[in-house]
Amino acid sequence: MILLPCPWCGPRNVAEFGYVGEAGPRPDPASAGPEEWRGYLYGRANPCGWVAESWYHRMGCRRYISVERHTLSNEVRPLATEGAGR
């Protein structure tokens, strides 16, 4: 079982988290067309490599956190960008 680095609780078992998935920005609902909107709803890059993901620490601090995970090796590292662990 992999460990996720929760910025609030430290490294915790992945079983404590709910998987949210690849984090993408919500398009502007005033201007987005169906294709763009449905890409936001359903489209995922799902690369073999590093991917930025959101997780919900359901059995811990109940914060939504973001981490980077390598989808081949399952290595996990904190998201480098500002706003991680929000």
Partner: protein, 937 residues
């Protein structure tokens, strides 16, 4: 005849504590420390079970945990490892898999079975003709007796525990002990796990020098701070991040405990497992491995036979010869494989009579001991990514350290040979390095010495009739036949013949199987490759995996009252709720006529505070929230960003910057996470604080034309008059003497009603007071079923019942609520596109023309075919249906295609029995009081 020897220097018996147990009804003496098998062997028992397919008699082979021949039933526990489980006074031990009986000569059956049970029989035999399967099944069941669990067997207690050692050492032999000591010396916390009942590994059955070394190591381990020892425990598997499963069997009062370990470094010190020799007759009782006789003599003081032949290819075989002589066994012949000696076959039926040598001579004996090589149990290493490499010079596999991850190391015999001192030095370095990797302390990597590798004769003989897999009863002939049928890959041979798939999981038989496949395919063992070791390392009970039962159940504070008043319980998610109190129709009539009271505690309640709550409500609900005055309540619907209805409920404005949101009972947890998600990830700048209050309040709905009259008797500080506290308003006040109660005037049932949220500790008090004070008003409790009838009469939808995962807002009859002129709300674009497209299913009220027929929920609404040979087209479905007590007819909600949604349209409902009945779309969703007059009184 007793085979018990006098006291041995290393014996694990406590001769001051003798007792008896029974074996197939017969009393057998034992000492404290005896295993079931050692006590039986001491009592002269040679046959313990019959083999899986051919029902050949089986005796001891390894006399260890992995012995496949002595799996027994103990009291009501099946499949007990007889050579490992300690005997206890009074235990009732029975043989398993013994049809027709343990001692009956089943030669005829063997021959019969042999014809049908050859390689791949699982895929070939008993398949056709299909109608004979019930007969086959009855016969096969007798063959495959795996013990029994009586229906009345008491459930044992199973436990769970977490452990976080810096170093976990798997294997408590000399190398494991040395590695644990070195890691502890370097400051690491250590968990040392050993399969046997005591530490020491092969030192336990060794000579005086071995026993002295064992005493020294044991004393140091016992004295070392930071080493926790788990004996009689098994490491089942190693997973990502050194997440390791251990089953511990030594906790008092606990059948088994699953220890979930997160280790810094894993040290695998599993030692070596002795490999059986494959030759004709190698499963006759009396044929044993050298470690088996050494364990029997030295640990359990059991004389394994009277007259022995020994085939030895290594020093352990030589040591077995010395042990046998010391124990008074006549060693009739020694075949030294290092000098080219061999044996050909064993003779005997039920017990060994003689051994045939290559020159044709037969040597009479009742014991044949083989010491023909070792298997490295590399399971934990391969689970960590290792690929063991075959060394033909040593005739065994070795781990490939280059392929191991940083956090896994191998120590001791699994990594190489050498003297005890060399093995201890190797393990000492590995332990120190493991501690360094886990803790980061120390001055750089610890150099790990390379262990020597001894030459060993490669003793594999494929073209014999010997048994390879003693659990699955797979012979070398079966493997050769599988290869001849075209299975060249060892993985495919495994699946086809089930070799290595029994309880020993390849520990005894994997290398022999590979060698035979190699010989049959004309390849080397290295070229042939191995089967894959997967978790679990040893079979595990379902009890250990299931562990303690953790299934929380939620009750409202009024549950004792419900139970005392005959409520029929309804399981609703984690909640147990009253479904009804005997007669849901009468309960519904009480609500329409007088006053009823229902426990609605599971309704989700979120306390929202902060200046930005209106922004949040405007974002999450499809309707408008900006202008909701203090004291007002509004119904709202949430959709997800795909436009699908997510939840509904009412939210009230309790005071400045203070709101109370209610959700559906089943949506309480989802909506909380949903609210947090939007606040945390999209609008972290909004000042809103969310507190879940679902179980902080006991909630009850007082519904019916006389509900106001009842509440006026018990409420203080709230003017309940219609004009002072109108429909869709909220007040806080004192109810039945309880302060800080929240009263909503809302009406899911369609009647004048008040939903009360009472501080949970006073819920039962308020409920009982209302029942008492409402007695003269005709008050009665009602359950979920009556509420479902009442809301259906009123046409109020239930999210998840009248909607599903594809129902977008406009399909749920929410046109009046969805405000597309708002700047934004969750789901807005999809809802706008849905409305634009127009051709979406609609939620409608529906009444069968024959009011006595209640179509089952989920009945299809169909376009009847014009021709009899066409199948009807599905154009909708009934989402809710009940018999209405107040209307005296059946009523429904349904989702129908757009062209059928106009009031008055006649549609066809297909009943489960295939009948088609006509039904009419009603003018409103509400079947009863569509104008809502009863709500607004």
């Amino acid at each position: 005849m007793s085979m018990r020897l006098g006291p041995q220097p290393g014996e694990v018996l406590d001769r001051t504590r003798p007792f008896t147990f029974t074996w197939n009804g017969r009393e057998v003496p034992a000492y404290q420390g005896d295993t079931i098998a050692s006590a039986l062997a001491a009592a002269g028992v040679r046959v313990f079970s019959r083999s899986l397919k051919y029902h050949r008699p089986r005796g001891l082979l390894t006399a260890s945990f992995h012995d496949p021949g002595c799996i027994v039933q103990v009291d009501d526990e099946p499949n007990v490892r007889g050579a490992h489980r300690l005997a206890r006074p009074g235990m009732r031990v029975r043989s398993q898999n013994t049809w027709p009986s343990l001692n009956f000569d089943v030669k005829a059956i063997n021959q019969l079975a042999g014809r049908f049970l050859s390689a791949g029989f699982y895929y070939k035999t008993f398949i056709r003709p299909r109608w004979l399967w019930p007969t086959y099944e009855r016969v096969l069941r007798r063959f495959a007796n795996g013990g029994e669990v009586p229906p009345e067997a008491a459930g044992d207690y199973y436990d769970k525990r977490y452990a976080h050692p810096e170093v976990l050492v798997a294997g408590g032999g000399p190398a494991g002990m040395a590695a644990a000591l070195a890691a502890a010396d370097a400051g690491a916390s250590v968990l040392l796990v050993e399969e046997e009942h005591q530490l020491g590994g092969h030192l336990c059955w060794g000579d005086e020098a071995d026993l002295a070394a064992l005493r020294g190591l044991s004393e140091r381990v016992a004295a070392a701070p930071g080493i926790e020892v788990l004996c009689d425990s098994a490491v089942l598997g190693r997973y990502e991040g050194n997440w390791i499963a251990v089953v511990q069997r030594t906790v008092p009062g606990v059948a088994e405990r699953l220890v979930k370990v997160r280790a810094g470094t894993l040290v695998v010190a599993s030692g070596l497992i002795e490999r059986p020799y494959v030759f004709a007759g190698n499963d006759i009782p009396g044929v044993m491995l050298s470690t088996a006789v050494r364990r029997l003599i030295n640990l359990y003081a059991v004389k394994p036979g009277e007259r022995a032949v020994v085939l030895t290819g290594n020093g352990d075989g030589d040591a077995a010869v010395a042990d046998l002589k010391r124990a008074g066994v006549t060693v009739a012949h020694i075949a030294d494989a290092r000098l080219g000696d061999d044996i050909v076959r064993a003779h005997g039926r039920g017990r060994l009579r003689s051994v045939e040598l290559p020159d044709g001579r037969r040597v009479d004996c009742d014991l044949l001991v083989t010491a023909t090589g070792w298997t490295a149990p590399a399971a934990l290493l391969t689970m960590a990514g290792d690929r063991p490499v075959y060394d033909p010079r040593a005739a065994r596999y070795f781990p490939d350290p280059a392929r191991l991850p940083e956090d896994v190391l191998a120590a001791g015999g699994i990594a190489g040979d050498g003297s005890l001192d060399e093995l201890l030095a190797h393990a000492d370095a590995v332990g120190a390095e493991a501690a360094r990797r886990a803790t980061g302390a120390g001055d750089g990597p610890v150099p790990i010495p390379t262990l020597p590798v001894d030459a060993h004769p490669a003793l594999f003989r494929g073209r014999t009739h010997g048994i390879v897999d003693f659990c699955e009863d797979v012979s070398s002939t079966d493997l050769v036949q599988a290869v001849e049928e075209g299975y060249r890959s060892v993985e495919l041979v495994k699946r086809y013949t089930t070799v290595t798939m029994g309880p020993t999981q390849g520990k005894l038989e994997a290398v022999n199987a590979v060698a035979i496949v190699a010989e049959a395919t004309g390849r080397s063992i290295g070229e042939t490759g191995t089967t894959t070791w997967r978790p679990p390392y040893v079979p595990v009970t379902l009890g250990a995996l299931a562990g303690r039962v953790f299934e929380p159940v939620r009750y409202s504070p009024m549950q004792p009252w419900h139970e005392a008043h005959g409520a029929t319980p309804l399981v609703a998610g984690a909640w147990i709720r009253p479904d009804h109190y005997g007669d849901p129709h009468a309960e519904a009539r009480t609500v329409r006529g007088d006053v009823g009271i229902i426990d609605v505690t599971p309704i989700g309640k979120l306390d929202l505070r902060g200046p930005d709550v209106p922004k949040l409500l405007n974002l999450l609900y499809v309707n408008k929230w900006s202008k909701l005055d203090v004291g007002r309540v509004r119904y709202g619907v949430m959709c997800a960003d795909d436009g699908v209805v997510l939840d509904d409920g009412v939210t009230g404005h309790l005071g400045p910057d203070h709101y109370l949101m209610s959700t559906t009972s089943s949506g309480a947890a989802t909506v909380w996470e949903w609210v947090e998600n939007w606040l945390q990830t999209q609008h972290p700048d909004w000042q809103v604080h969310v507190t879940p209050l679902t179980t902080a309040y006991a909630s009850m709905n007082v519904a019916g034309p006389r509900s106001r009259e009842l509440l006026e008797r018990v409420t203080e500080g709230v003017d309940l008059a219609g004009e002072a506290f109108p429909y869709m308003n909220v007040r806080t006040g004192r109810v039945c003497g309880v302060d800080d109660c929240v009263l909503w005037r809302i009406g899911f049932t369609g009647e004048l009603s008040y939903e009360l949220h009472i501080p949970a500790a006073y819920g039962l008090h308020v409920w009982e007071t209302l029942m008492e004070r409402g007695h003269d008003l005709g008050i009665a409790p009602f359950g979920v079923e009556a509420q479902r009838i009442l809301r259906l009469e009123k046409g109020h939808l239930i999210v998840g019942q009248d909607t599903d995962g594809l129902t977008r807002g406009f399909s749920a009859g929410l046109d009046w609520a969805i405000k597309l002129d708002k700047d934004d709300f969750v789901g807005k674009p999809e809802l706008a596109w849905q409305q634009e497209a127009g051709e979406y299913p609609r939620l409608v009220g529906l009444q069968p023309l024959d009011g006595s027929v209640v179509p089952e929920e989920a009945c299809q609404i169909v376009d009847p075919p014009r021709r009899a040979d066409r199948r009807p087209r599905i154009v909708g479905r009934v989402t809710s249906s009940r018999m209405s007590p107040i209307l005296g007819r059946s009523i429904c909600l349904a989702q129908v295609d757009a062209h059928l949604a106009a009031p008055g349209t006649q549609v066809t409902v297909r009943l489960p029995d295939g009948r088609h009945i006509p039904a009419r779309v009603t003018d409103h969703l509400a079947h009863f009081d569509p104008t809502g007059d009863r709500l607004r009184v």
